[in-house]
Structures are given as structure tokens and as C-alpha cells.
């Protein structure tokens, strides 16, 4: 699939971040790599744009951050899902799936 046409739908980035952080606490670099790997590198995403989103989510209290040591031994900021974030992820995921299903149903009608 063409990478250029895969601009993220608005609001999707937050969902991706929440979902990715649900597994483990990550810093921005790992997060970017994880998203790229899981999506088979098919989402066109400037890596820097993760940061405003991270800070916004932190501001909303869905994730929280803590400074720690990265694998490479440098200081890095690790983000982790909060309980509120977890609830939000459930809700958003359900919403997204029902939306996607609806779109899919329309596209695949006879």
C-alpha cells in the first residue's frame, strides 16, 4: 500500500499511542519504532509529531511520564498509561472498531 496516501485520520494518533503504551512504559523513540514495526511501516508519520501528542495526553492525565535510563544508557523520558488512560483506550478502541466495521460494511455491500 502507498505510504504517502496513508495520512493518519485525525484523532487516530492518540489511539495508537495509547494502545502501544498499554503494553509497557516506553520513551518516544521506542514508541515510534514500535508503531512503525507493528504497522509494517505503512503509516506515514513524522516522528516528531508524537511529542505534541504525548504532551497533550499527559496534560489530560491519560499517560504519565518519568525520567529513566534508556537501553543505550542515556536519560530518557518514559511514558506509561494511567488508569484513566486505560479506560480511555477501551472506549476509544470500541468506538474505532464500531466505526471501522460500519465503514467496512458499507464498502463491502453487494
Amino acid at each position: 500500500m502507498d505510504k504517502v496516501r496513508n495520512e493518519l485520520l485525525q484523532g487516530t494518533l492518540d489511539l495508537l499511542i495509547l494502545r502501544t503504551l498499554a503494553g509497557a512504559a516506553l520513551h518516544g523513540w521506542d514508541l515510534a519504532k514500535r508503531i512503525a514495526v507493528v504497522s509494517n511501516d505503512r503509516l506515514s508519520l513524522k516522528q516528531g509529531s508524537l511529542y505534541p501528542a504525548l504532551h497533550r495526553l499527559e496534560d489530560r492525565g491519560w499517560i504519565e511520564a518519568e525520567w529513566g535510563i534508556s537501553d543505550a544508557g542515556r536519560n530518557a523520558k518514559f511514558y506509561r498509561l494511567t488508569r484513566k488512560g486505560r479506560r480511555e483506550l477501551q472506549a476509544e478502541k470500541a468506538h474505532w472498531l464500531s466505526f471501522a466495521t460500519a465503514v467496512q460494511n458499507v464498502l463491502e455491500m453487494e
Binding site: 509529531s49 511529542y51 497533550r56 499527559e58 504519565e64
Partner: protein, 892 residues
């Protein structure tokens, strides 16, 4: 959950206060990511430069992200607001004239309002400096003559004995004293004589020394004195060795035993009093049931409810009225809460009126600003329409407008607080008395809150009009008509006209109201009813009992002093009396007429009595209408004589001649009859409140010598400055220990007494001028805009041969019509508001005064609307000529 909230809060707070640190952390975070990216590219074997470029490309624009992130740090609305405020600053600074006008307008409006609020807080709301003041009460003994009468020593003694059921009572009497310190001229000072427990009842212990002791109530032990902190600082330099110092007061040495705390300097209850002495009544005086000189206050015991205390006081008064009917019949007692009886309270109605008027000024300022802002918004409607078409939300459209209003309001509030403080300083300056006492206005948090609150309300009020305009803007229309210049549409024209009419109506209410009050005050100040104040000098002396122990010596001093005063070439006549004609005479006595049945006790006719020397009437300028004045024939040994006022003669004797009739004061046995030898013109004091009794009676000083004397001196021509010095020198030569107080022209004595009225007058004038000025600016704005919009039309008119006069008539008509309509509405408003205002605010409660109100309205109304027209017309025509010139040059 809780810990999460806490964490969130903590990060918020730490970001707020450690912005620099947050920036550094963000840098580190982003740099870490970039470094990782660069490292990844490097591993692919590209050059260092390519690795960096690749990393940048992959990461995106760092600056944009950074800005986005920073936005999340501020509360989002605040962030927008901050940007909007910055935008407002730059947009306002592009039209500094408008900004300055708006801010000054607001500052004057809010400043006046805040000043009045500060006065209200300081004078009415601030509690008295007495702890537990809710339990403090002032007692009154109401008689048919005097609603708020005081108590005789014997009545008070009885009350004190029974007071265990009530709490504790204390009494005091105003008693000025003469103070002579070695090597300094003697002077007269305000003083109070009080029971030893006064300060205990008030709950104010001395800050230095002690309070009075119970035994100091007794005559002979009373040579002690407590002074105020103000006096201690000013007169004695605040030295610690003040306790135990001896002062000569009324010719006798008194020891200073205490200094009151600074909080006691409050003028509202006891006035500006610096010297306190025990009452020191001797046995005879304690048993006196006639001389009602004592003011009584009490502290209700905690176990007593207000109603129980009231019942006790009323019952006790009723008992005394029954037990001593010859003096107390018809009297009843009551107790009011002390806070409701202070001097400040009487100013309350005036203050409320001033706050009301200042609110009018503020309203006018508001509508002015609404008008200006609306005009600004209309000129910006094209911009607004474009932004709206580009998808700006309502909030985004309104933001700059709200920010602008808010900015103006805040700047206005800051300046307003300054204005209010200047105003307060000015009031304080105007109230300075001869001992440096002054009214100070407090500026506490509530006053600041008032100013800020008023400015925010104002911002909302005048920001609303442009906001509504922006919301109802029709984008298509705006964009289409944009090319031709915006006129704002019919609805907005109507709205702005409505604002102008409202403004003029408000200004008219303000102006007419102020004019009526000012004229009322002036009339009071200049009322010289039954006497003349020109060329008259007045002053006060009190002959100390130590130097003048008996009547003979007092009379001898009077004779000698008057002889020498009369001998001065510039003096036409001189006299001594108990009171001056300028103020009410508090010496009120009962009288009975010889040859008529005695009325029941308590129902005798009463008269205000003045005791005067022989040339009093010619000195004061009070005419003798029939009979004679007092003269050399009236001495201590000659038959007793009196002079009564015309009103008294009519009231007691109707159409009969009063001359030769005799009056006596009931109570003494046998009655001491005095023959009426003259009828004097009625005298009205300059005070707003009418005296409790309308009858006036004069006794000759020679037959009833009194040590408290008002000196009246009438000079031949306008009193030269030297006359005051000459008078003082004569008295000092007679008795170096004798101070003369308030020696000045009668007019300036009146002005000093009425300083509150003078301040009030200035404030009212200020408000009225402000109101009219602001309304005129408003109408100028409207005419100017109308001109600007119609320049094309005027140019065509000129081109078709219209003369300047035709066009200016057209323009003036529109402004004048608005002003006229507003003025008429305002006139009705003014009449209504004055009819509603309580009588005491009118400065005079007499019916006559009230009756002439409507006539004055029409007069002041017409004058002020005329002023409004003139201003509007002037401004309009100036603008017009400018415009016309521009246009003709443009068409030519």
C-alpha cells in the same frame, strides 16, 4: 486514582513555576530522539551530514512541535487569552488616542465610584474601635421637645445603682477646657468629662499608664487626665515620660495618668477629642435632676437579650418619670445600638447618594465605550467576515473583542485606583481641622476588589455591544458592501442612537440632581436668617472657675473686655453670649406665663435660650422689632428681664402685645418671674436639621453670668486681618492664661463646620461635569461617524449647489435631536429620582424647600440641556467644516 491526580497536579504546578526547567527537559527529550535517529542513519553507512538531514526529515519541524507542546503547558484558554491580549495591545497601540480616551474615561468613572465606596467602607462599614461593640448601646431620654435628649446627673446616678440588672453604664459630657503650659499662650481644646468606667465599658484600656480609678469620680480627686494617642504624639512628641506629667487645665494642675491607644482616634463616636477628665461632680451636682448634660452609654451583659435590655431601659425611664414627674413627666427612655448613633451614620444617606451618582457617571462612561468599541468593530466587520468565512468559530471571532475590552478595563482599573487614592487624599486634605485631625479613608482589599469588580463588570457591559454585533454579522452582506465602506446597518445605527439618548438621559439625571443638591447646600451655607454674618468675627473663651470663682468677677471681666473691644477704631460693636446665632442653641428650657394656669408637668412650652450681653443684638445684626434691647439698666440686682423672639410672642400671646408680660421657669419655688422687655426677630441656624423647638428667648448676661462665652465683634468695614490679632491681644492683655478659640470671621467658622457639605458639593459638581463631558464626547463620536459615512453624499450636495449652512443644519439636526430626546427623558428621571430620595439627602427637610424642587428642575434642566446642545453643535460643525473642505478638495 488519587495519587494520579496528585501527580498530575504536581507536574502542572512544577511547570507553572519552573518553566525553564520544563524547557530544558523538553530539549533533552527531543534531542534524545534525534540522536537515536541520527545514530540509526549512521548505521546505514551514510555521511554525517546526510544522517543529520535524514533525521531532521524523519522527525519533522522541531520548532512547530515545540510550540505545540508549550501550548499544552498553559491552561489552554489562558494561552489563547494571552495571545489575544498581546494582539489587543498591539491593535490598541495603533490607535493610541482612542485607547487613552477609553482608559481615562474608565479611570474617572471607576475611580469616582471606588472613592465613594472607600468613603462608605471607612465611615459606615468599618466597625468602631471597641471590642464587642454589638453589646454597646447609647441611651436616650426622649421628651416632647427632644427626641434624642440626654440625662441629668441624678437620673444617671439612679440608673447606675440599678444597672446590675442590665450590665454596666457609663456617662460623659462634652467639656472643652483651656490648657496653659508654662511659657506658651493658653489655648482651648476639645475635652470630655466622663465617669471613671467609660473606657472600661468601651473596652479600651490605656496603652500607657492606667484608666481612671473609681474614687476619681468624686469631686476633689478629679485632677487627673487621660489623653488621646493623637495628642500624645502631636503635642508631647510621643515621649514615654508623659505619665505623671502635670498640665494646667482650666487653671488647675492635672496629672496625666494614661494614654489611649491609637485605635481610639476614631472620630465617629466621640469626635476629635483629645483630653478626658473624670466628671468630678460635687454633692449638689450629683443630686441635680434638671441639668440634662450627661450622655449615657452602656454595655449589655452577655446574659441579656436585646429585647430584655430594651425592656429594662424603657421600664426604668417610666419609673423615673413616675417618681419625679416635675422634671421627668412625658419623658421616655430607649437604648440604640452605639454603632447606629455615630457621627458617621448621619453621613450615610449622603454617601449612598454619592455612590449612586458615581454609578451614573460609570454608566455614562460604559455606554460611551460601548459606542466607541462598536464603531471600531463595525470598521472591522470586513475582517471579521473574512475570518468567519475562513471557518473561525464564534469564540475565535469574539476573542479579540473581549480581549480588547478586558485590557481597557484592567488598565482603567489600575488608573482608577490611583484616581480614587488621589480623591481620598483630597477628601482627607479638605477635612483637616485645626489640630491636624482629619478623616482618612481606608484602602483595603475590599476597596481594591470593588475597583477590579467594577472594571470587570464594565468590561462585560461595554464589550457586549460589539460582541453581539460580531455574532450577528451577516458575512455575505459584509463582504458585498465592504467595497463601499461599512455603515453598520440600520439596527446598529439604532442601537448607537439608543446609547446616545441613554447617555444624555443619565447625564441629565446626574446634572439636574447635582444642581438641585448643590443649590440646596448653598442655600444652607449662605442662609443668614435673622442675623448678618458680614463683617462679623466670632471666637470662644471659657473663663476658668479658679480665676473667676463668682458672678461678680465674671461680669467685671465681661464689662472690661467689651469696653476695650469697643474702643478699637475698626470695631462697630462687640458682645458676649452663650451661643452664636449661626448654630442651634442646645440650652432648652421650659417656661410658664404669669397669670395663666400652670400646664401639667412635661407639657410646658419650651424655648431655646441664649444668654447675651447688652449690645448682642446690634452686633449679631438681629433686629429688635418692639420694645428695647438689653442695656446698662439690666444688672444683677435690677428686676429680671428677658427678650423673646417674634415666633415666641405669637405662639404664647397671639395678637396681644407681649411687652410687659412675665415668664418664669417652672420647678423653682417661688417662681422667678422675668419681664419681657423686647421682641427680637426670629433667627434660623445654618444647620440643615431644624432645631427641636421653634421658640427663642434671650436672657441678659449681666443677670445670669456664664463662663462659657462666644465673643461677637462687628467691624466697621470688611474685617481687616489685623482686627483678629487686635482682639486676641486685648483679651490676652486682660488675662494671659485665657485662650481664645476659633477666632475668625463668622463665615469661615461656618465653612469649617460645614466642611462635609463643602466636600459633598465639590464631589457633586465633579460628577455632574464628568457626566456631561462624557456624554458630549459620546455625541461627538456619533456625529463624527455620521459625517464620515456621509461624505460622499455631502460632496454631491455641495456639487449640486448646497451651501455649507444647509449641510451643517442637516448634521446638527441629527445630534440635537438625540440630545434633546435624552435630556427630556433624563429630566423626568431626575424628577422621579429626587422625589424618591430620602428627605435628609436633600440637604434640607423643610416643606418649603421640597416645594420648590420642580421649579428648580426645569431651570437647571434647561440650562444643562442648553450646554449639551452647544457642545454637540460646536463639535459637529468643526467636524463638518473639516469634512467639507476635504471633500471639496477631493471632488475638485
Amino acid at each position: 486514582m488519587f495519587s494520579e491526580t496528585l501527580h498530575w497536579l504536581r507536574t502542572k504546578c512544577s511547570r507553572l513555576f519552573r518553566r525553564g526547567k520544563a524547557e530544558a527537559a523538553l530539549d533533552a527529550e527531543l534531542q534524545f530522539h534525534l540522536d537515536q535517529l541520527i545514530a540509526q542513519f549512521r548505521e546505514e553507512g551514510v555521511t554525517e551530514r546526510e544522517a543529520r538531514l535524514g533525521a531532521q526529515r524523519e522527525f519533522g519541524n522541531t520548532g512547530v512541535y515545540r510550540e505545540e507542546i508549550r501550548d499544552t503547558w498553559r491552561p489552554p484558554r489562558l494561552a489563547d487569552l494571552w495571545r489575544a491580549l498581546r494582539f489587543a495591545v498591539s491593535s490598541l497601540s495603533r490607535s493610541p488616542g482612542f485607547a487613552l480616551l477609553a482608559i481615562v474615561t474608565l479611570a474617572l468613572g471607576i475611580g469616582g465610584n471606588t472613592m465613594m465606596f472607600s468613603a462608605f467602607t471607612s465611615i459606615i462599614q468599618k466597625p468602631l474601635p471597641y471590642p464587642g461593640q454589638e453589646a454597646l448601646e447609647r441611651f436616650y431620654r426622649a421628651t416632647p421637645q427632644d427626641e434624642s435628649g440626654n440625662f441629668s446627673p441624678a437620673d444617671f446616678r439612679d440608673l447606675q445603682r440599678a444597672a446590675a440588672n442590665y450590665g454596666e453604664v457609663a456617662a460623659y459630657a462634652l467639656s472643652d477646657c483651656s490648657l496653659s503650659e508654662p511659657g506658651q499662650p493658653a489655648e482651648m481644646v476639645s475635652g470630655i468629662r466622663c465617669t471613671a468606667n467609660l473606657f472600661k465599658v468601651l473596652g479600651v484600656p490605656s496603652q500607657l499608664g492606667r484608666n481612671f480609678l473609681p474614687k476619681e469620680d468624686l469631686s476633689g480627686n478629679d485632677r487627673v487626665m487621660i489623653i488621646s494617642e493623637r495628642c500624645w504624639q502631636k503635642r508631647f512628641g510621643g515621649k514615654d515620660d508623659i505619665i505623671g506629667r502635670t498640665l494646667r487645665v482650666d487653671g488647675e494642675p492635672h496629672e496625666i495618668v494614661g494614654v489611649l491607644p491609637a485605635s481610639f482616634n476614631d472620630w465617629r463616636h466621640l469626635g476629635w477629642v483629645d483630653f478626658f477628665r473624670p466628671l468630678g461632680f460635687d454633692k449638689d451636682k450629683v443630686a441635680d435632676r434638671r441639668d440634662t448634660i450627661l450622655r449615657v452609654i452602656g454595655r449589655r451583659s452577655a446574659s441579656l437579650s436585646r429585647a430584655q435590655a430594651d425592656a429594662f431601659v424603657a421600664n426604668f425611664g417610666a419609673r423615673l418619670a413616675k417618681d419625679f414627674p416635675e422634671v421627668n413627666a412625658g419623658s421616655s427612655w430607649r437604648a440604640d445600638s452605639l454603632a447606629s448613633t455615630t457621627h458617621g451614620r448621619s453621613a450615610g444617606a449622603m454617601l449612598k447618594m454619592c455612590i449612586g451618582l458615581s454609578a451614573f457617571v460609570l454608566l455614562i462612561a460604559c455606554s460611551n465605550l460601548a459606542n466607541f468599541l462598536l464603531a471600531r468593530t463595525i470598521t472591522r466587520s470586513r475582517e471579521l467576515a473574512v475570518r468567519s468565512a475562513l471557518g473561525a468559530s464564534r469564540g475565535q471571532l469574539l476573542q479579540p473583542l473581549i480581549a480588547e475590552a478586558l485590557l481597557l478595563a484592567l488598565a482603567g482599573a489600575a488608573l482608577a485606583i490611583l484616581v480614587a487614592q488621589w480623591g481620598a487624599a483630597w477628601i482627607s486634605y479638605r477635612s483637616i481641622g485645626e489640630n491636624g485631625e482629619r478623616v482618612t479613608l481606608i484602602f483595603n482589599w475590599s476597596v481594591f476588589a470593588w475597583a477590579v469588580g467594577a472594571s470587570l463588570v464594565t468590561a462585560i457591559a461595554f464589550g457586549l455591544a460589539p460582541a453581539l454585533f460580531a455574532l450577528r454579522l451577516n458575512v455575505n452582506e459584509a463582504l458585498k458592501s465592504g467595497a463601499r465602506g461599512m455603515t453598520g446597518g440600520r439596527g446598529h445605527q439604532r442601537f448607537r442612537k439608543f446609547l446616545i439618548v441613554g447617555q444624555f438621559a443619565l447625564a441629565m439625571v446626574l446634572l439636574a440632581g447635582a444642581a438641585v443638591f448643590i443649590r440646596g447646600l448653598d442655600e444652607l451655607n449662605h442662609r443668614r436668617d435673622g442675623w448678618q454674618s458680614e463683617h462679623l468675627i466670632t471666637g470662644t473663651i471659657v473663663l476658668p472657675a479658679a480665676t473667676y470663682p463668682d458672678d461678680e468677677r465674671v461680669t467685671a471681666f465681661h464689662r472690661l473686655m467689651l469696653e476695650r473691644l469697643q474702643a478699637l477704631p475698626e470695631v462697630a460693636s462687640a458682645s458676649v453670649s452663650l451661643f452664636t446665632p449661626s448654630f442651634n442653641w442646645p440650652d432648652i428650657r421650659k417656661y410658664v406665663v404669669q397669670g395663666r394656669a400652670l400646664p401639667p408637668p412635661g407639657h410646658e412650652p419650651t424655648a431655646a435660650v441664649n444668654t447675651v450681653s447688652s449690645r448682642y443684638f446690634e452686633t449679631a445684626g438681629t433686629r429688635i422689632l418692639a420694645g428695647r434691647s438689653f442695656d446698662e439698666r439690666d444688672t444683677a440686682t435690677s428686676p429680671k428681664v428677658i427678650i423673646i423672639s417674634q415666633n415666641t410672642a405669637r405662639g404664647l400671646f397671639g395678637n396681644e402685645s407681649a411687652l410687659g408680660k412675665r415668664l418664669a421657669q417652672p420647678g423653682s419655688a417661688p417662681l422667678e418671674w422675668a419681664e419681657i422687655v423686647g421682641i427680637a426677630a426670629d433667627v434660623k441656624s445654618i444647620l440643615p436639621e431644624a432645631p427641636p423647638v421653634s421658640f427663642q428667648i434671650y436672657e441678659p448676661m449681666a443677670q445670669h453670668p456664664i463662663r462659657y462665652n462666644e465673643i461677637l465683634v462687628r467691624t466697621v468695614n470688611s474685617a481687616p486681618v489685623s482686627a483678629v490679632e487686635n482682639i486676641r491681644n486685648i483679651i490676652t492683655a486682660l488675662d494671659p492664661d485665657l485662650p481664645v478659640r476659633h477666632l475668625q470671621s463668622a463665615d469661615s467658622a461656618i465653612a469649617r463646620t460645614n466642611y462635609q457639605t463643602a466636600i459633598l458639593r465639590d464631589i457633586l459638581t465633579l460628577f455632574a461635569v464628568l457626566g456631561l463631558g462624557l456624554a458630549s464626547i459620546g455625541i461627538y463620536g456619533v456625529i463624527a461617524r455620521a459625517m464620515a459615512q456621509r461624505t460622499n453624499e455631502f460632496a454631491i450636495r455641495f456639487a449640486l449647489g448646497a451651501r455649507a449652512r444647509d449641510v451643517s443644519g442637516l448634521v446638527l439636526a441629527s445630534g440635537v435631536k438625540l440630545a434633546l430626546l435624552g435630556s427630556v427623558i433624563g429630566l423626568f428621571g431626575a424628577m422621579a429620582s429626587c422625589a424618591c430620595s430620602p428627605p435628609e439627602t436633600r440637604g434640607c427637610s423643610s416643606t418649603a424647600h421640597r416645594l420648590c424642587l420642580p421649579r428648580r428642575f426645569s431651570w437647571s434642566g434647561s440650562r444643562s440641556s442648553l450646554a449639551g446642545f452647544l457642545l454637540g453643535a460646536l463639535v459637529g460643525s468643526i467636524r463638518l467644516t473639516l469634512c467639507a473642505r476635504n471633500k471639496t478638495s477631493a471632488t475638485a
